[in-house]
Symmetry: C2
Subunit: 250 residues, 2 copies
Amino acid sequence: MLLTRESPKPLYQQLKERILKDLALGKRPPHSRLPSEREWVRKLGVSRITVRQALSDLVQQGHLYTVPGKGIFVGEHSDARELNAFLSFTASVEARGEKPANRVIEAKLMRATAAIAHDLHVASGAEVVVLTRLRLANGLPMMIQRSMLPHARCPGLLDRDLEALSLYATLRQGYGLTLARAESTITARIADRSERKLLSLGESGVVLVVDQLTLAHDGEPVERAESIVHPERHPLSLVQQDNGRSLGVG
Amino acid sequence: MLLTRESPKPLYQQLKERILKDLALGKRPPHSRLPSEREWVRKLGVSRITVRQALSDLVQQGHLYTVPGKGIFVGEHSDARELNAFLSFTASVEARGEKPANRVIEAKLMRATAAIAHDLHVASGAEVVVLTRLRLANGLPMMIQRSMLPHARCPGLLDRDLEALSLYATLRQGYGLTLARAESTITARIADRSERKLLSLGESGVVLVVDQLTLAHDGEPVERAESIVHPERHPLSLVQQDNGRSLGVG
DNA sequence: GGTATTATCTGGTCATAACCAGTGCCCTCC
DNA sequence: GGAGGGCACTGGTTATGACCAGATAATACC
C-alpha cells in the first residue's frame, strides 16, 4: 500500500506519480499490460473513479493507451517525453545530456513600440525588458535569442543573474509566472553578417527563425522572443500527439 | 434540451459538441463565464459526472479554464485552434480560408532501403508507396512533400484519386488508419535547382525542411514524410499548451 | 473434433451522494 | 459606517453501484 489519505495530495495524484515512477524506472516496458482498473481498486482500497481519474490523465498525456475489452497498456513512447525544443532551451539541451550555457549580449529597458505593445498587452511606450542572449550547448553556439518582457510583470529582472539560471526558471521562482502556452512561427532566411559570426555559420549562412509569444495561464503574454537558430546544430524537434476522440469525429 | 439518450453518442460527447459549437459561433466570448457544473446538471437532467467529463475534456484541450470557487470560463484562444501546420496540410490551409490543391509529381512502389525499413517498421526490401506531391494554396506552390508508406498497410493506395482528397482523409476513410502522433524535425537549407523551380523561389532560395514520422494509435509508423517548404509563403505556425499539473509539480 | 453458447473478464458511460476548500455576498453586531 | 461572521455558492475529490459492448476462454452441444 503506497497511497495515504493523510497526504494533502489527492489519491489519484499519488497513483499517477507511482505509475509514472514505474515507467521512468523501466519497470512496465512499452506495450506491457497494467493491472485492470478493478484490480487497482482491490489492491489500493480506493474507488474506481479515483483509479480512472489517474489512468485517464496518463492516457491523455500519451503515457498509456487503452484497448476496450482487453486492458490498459504502456505507450510506445512512455519515456523521453517533453524533449520539446520550444518551451525551454535549457531543458531541451539538458534532456539531450548536453551542458547548456548562456552569454548575455544585451540587457536593457526599452519603451514599447506599437507592435511590441500590442503583442505584450501593455500601453505603447511602457517599459519593456529586452534580453538578447547567445545560447550554447557544450560550448557550441546554437542560437541567438532576443526576448522582450513587460517590465511590470518582472520588476528588477535585469538585476538577477541571467547567465546562470534559465529565464523561465527565474520567472517561475522569482515572480510566480508559470508559462502555459507558446505560439510560434517558424521561417528561414539568410543570416546577416553579425549572426553568421556569432553562430559561426558556414558558407551558405541559412538560419531558422522562430518567433514566439509565450503566455501565462490567464492568457496574458509574458514574453515575446525571436530566436535565430543554427539549423544543422540545433534542428527543431517536435512531437505532436492527438489523444482524445475529438478531432476526427464528424 | 439538446441531449438525447437515444443517440449512440455518449451524453458527454453531445455536451462537448454543443459547447464547441457555441464557441465556434462566437457566442460565449473569451473569459465569459459558463453555467456552473450544477447548473448544467439541472438544465440537462444528467449527472454531475457526465457534465464534468465533458467540461474537463474541454479544459484539457485548452478551450476552457476553471477557477476554483468561481466558475468555468472560456479560454483566451477558444477559436482558431488546430491551425497546426503539421498534422494535415489540407486542413491547415482550409483553416486559413484558402483553397488547397495537390499536384502529384511521382507515385510509385519502391523497395524499402535499410533506413526506410527501420523507420517504417517493415522488412528491408518490402514494398513502400512513394508519393511526391506539390501542394498549393490558392494556386501558389507552398511545399513539395514526399511521403513514404508501408504498402501492406494501404494496399491499392496508388489506384485512388490522390489529387482530390487529402492523403490523411484517404487513409482514415479507406483503411481505417487514424494518425495519432507526429514526430518532426525542422531544419533549413538552400534549395536545389528543381526545388527552386517548383516552388518559384526567389534569389536566395532558402527552404524549410520538415522531416516527419507519423504514427498510428498502436505506435506503428504509417508515414515517413519530407516536406520542402516555402518559408515566406508558408511559415510553420505552432501552438504548444501546457495544461495539466504534471510538469512543474516537483 | 468442431461449433455454438455462456460466464466472466475488460474498459466506457452514467447515476446518486457526500465532503472539502475556496469565493463572494449579505446581514448582524459593534 | 465599518468589521465580522455566517451562508450559499463554486470547482475538486472520492465512494458506491449500475449497465453496456467488446474480448476471451471454458463449457456444453452436436
